[in-house]
C-alpha cells in the first residue's frame, strides 16, 4: 500500500470539492512550472502546459486507480504534456554540465583541500538565517540546468524516492544520481559562497 499524502485531497476532489482542487494546485503548481520550463521555449508556454495538465488531471480523475501516488500521476501527465509542447525528445545526461563539482583550484596538486569548505552550517541554528537560506535555494534551483532542476525539485523539495523520480522523468537510476549530485553540489556552493565564513 502506497502512503499517499494527497489521498485526502483526492477524495474530496472526487466528491466535487473545488477547494480541494485549489489546494492541490497550490501544492504542486510551482514544482510543475519548474519542470515544464525545461521542456518548452518560454515561461508562457510552461504556464499553458501546467494549465493543460490540470485539465488532464480533472479528466483523468475517474480513471486514476491509485497504483502510484497522486503526485507521481500528476507529474507524469505534466511531463507528457510538456514533451508534446516542447521539442525535447530523448533525454539523457546532456553535456550541459561537465567537469568536477568542486573547482579544482580548491585542491592542491595531491588532491587535498587547499581552500577547504567555509563554515555555514552553524548559522542555520538561527531560524531567520535558515529561512533566508531556503529563499536563496529557491532561486538557485531556478538557475540550475534543466535536468538537474527537475531531479532536485522532485527528490529534495517534493521528497520523492529515486524510484518515483526515475519513473516520472524516464531516466535511469545512474542518470538520476549524476543529476542529483551535480544539482545538490551547486546548491551547496551557493550557500557556501553567500553564507560561508572562513
Amino acid at each position: 500500500m502506497i502512503q499517499d499524502p494527497d489521498a485526502g485531497l483526492l477524495d474530496r476532489l472526487r466528491s466535487g470539492d473545488e477547494q480541494a482542487f485549489v489546494a492541490l494546485v497550490g501544492r504542486y503548481r510551482e514544482a510543475m512550472l519548474r519542470l515544464a520550463a525545461g521542456y518548452v521555449p518560454s515561461q508562457a508556454v510552461a504556464e499553458e502546459v501546467v494549465q493543460e495538465t490540470w485539465i488532464g488531471v480533472l479528466r483523468g480523475l475517474d480513471g486514476f486507480e491509485g497504483r502510484s501516488t497522486v503526485r507521481t500521476w500528476l507529474f507524469r501527465i505534466l511531463v507528457n504534456r510538456a514533451r508534446t509542447a516542447g521539442s525535447r525528445e530523448r533525454r539523457s545526461v546532456a553535456v550541459e554540465d561537465i567537469g568536477p563539482v568542486v573547482d579544482q583550484s580548491r585542491f592542491d596538486g595531491a588532491g587535498g583541500w587547499s581552500a577547504p569548505p567555509e563554515h555555514w552550517i552553524e548559522r542555520t541554528d538561527d531560524k531567520l538565517m535558515a529561512a533566508k537560506m531556503a529563499d536563496r535555494i529557491r532561486t538557485a534551483i531556478g538557475d540550475l540546468p534543466a535536468r538537474q532542476r527537475e531531479v532536485v525539485t522532485l527528490r529534495d523539495i517534493e521528497g520523492m524516492s529515486s524510484n518515483e523520480v526515475c519513473g516520472v522523468l524516464e531516466i535511469s537510476e545512474a542518470n538520476q544520481r549524476v543529476l542529483l549530485h551535480r544539482g545538490r553540489s551547486r546548491l551547496r556552493l551557493v550557500l557556501e559562497s553567500e553564507f560561508g565564513e572562513a
Binding site: S15, G16, D17, E18, F21, V22, V25, G26, R27, Y28, R29, E30, A31, Q51, W54, I55, L58, R59, P100, V101, V102, Q104, F107, A110, G111, G112, W113, P116, P117, H119, W120, I121, T124, A130, M133, A134, I137, R138, I141, V152, D156, I157, G159, S162, E173, R177, L180, H181, R184, S185, L187, R188, L191, E192
Partner: protein, 97 residues
C-alpha cells in the same frame, strides 16, 4: 583516472567530494564505501563537506510553495467550474445530501 584509483587505495579529497551523493544514496560498493568512510575518518574538511551536503538537502526540503495569488485562485476555480460544466453539466454532488 581509473588506473590511478587502482594503484592508490587511499582516496584523496578531490575524489571524495565526487562520491558524496553515491554514498548518501547507498550506491557505493562495499569496498568503495569503506574507502570513503576511512577517508572521512581522517579528514575534517571532507567530513564538513558531507555535513554541508546533508544540510543543503535539509534546507532544500524546507522550501515550500508560495501561496497562490488571489487572482490565480479565481482563475483555477473558474477552470474547475468550466470543466465540470463541460463534462456533462452534472452539478457537483450536494455535500448535504
Amino acid at each position: 583516472m581509473a588506473l590511478r584509483l587502482r594503484l592508490r587505495p587511499d582516496l584523496v579529497c578531490q575524489q571524495a567530494v565526487e562520491l558524496v551523493t553515491d554514498y548518501l544514496e547507498g550506491a557505493l560498493s562495499r569496498r568503495d564505501r569503506r574507502r570513503f568512510e576511512s577517508h572521512l575518518a581522517g579528514c575534517p574538511h571532507c567530513t564538513e563537506y558531507l555535513a554541508q551536503m546533508r544540510m543543503t538537502i535539509r534546507i532544500t526540503g524546507s522550501v515550500t510553495p508560495e501561496d497562490l495569488s488571489p487572482q490565480m485562485r479565481v482563475e483555477f476555480i473558474e477552470l474547475y467550474r468550466s470543466f465540470r460544466a463541460e463534462a456533462g453539466g452534472e452539478p457537483a454532488p450536494d455535500p448535504d445530501a
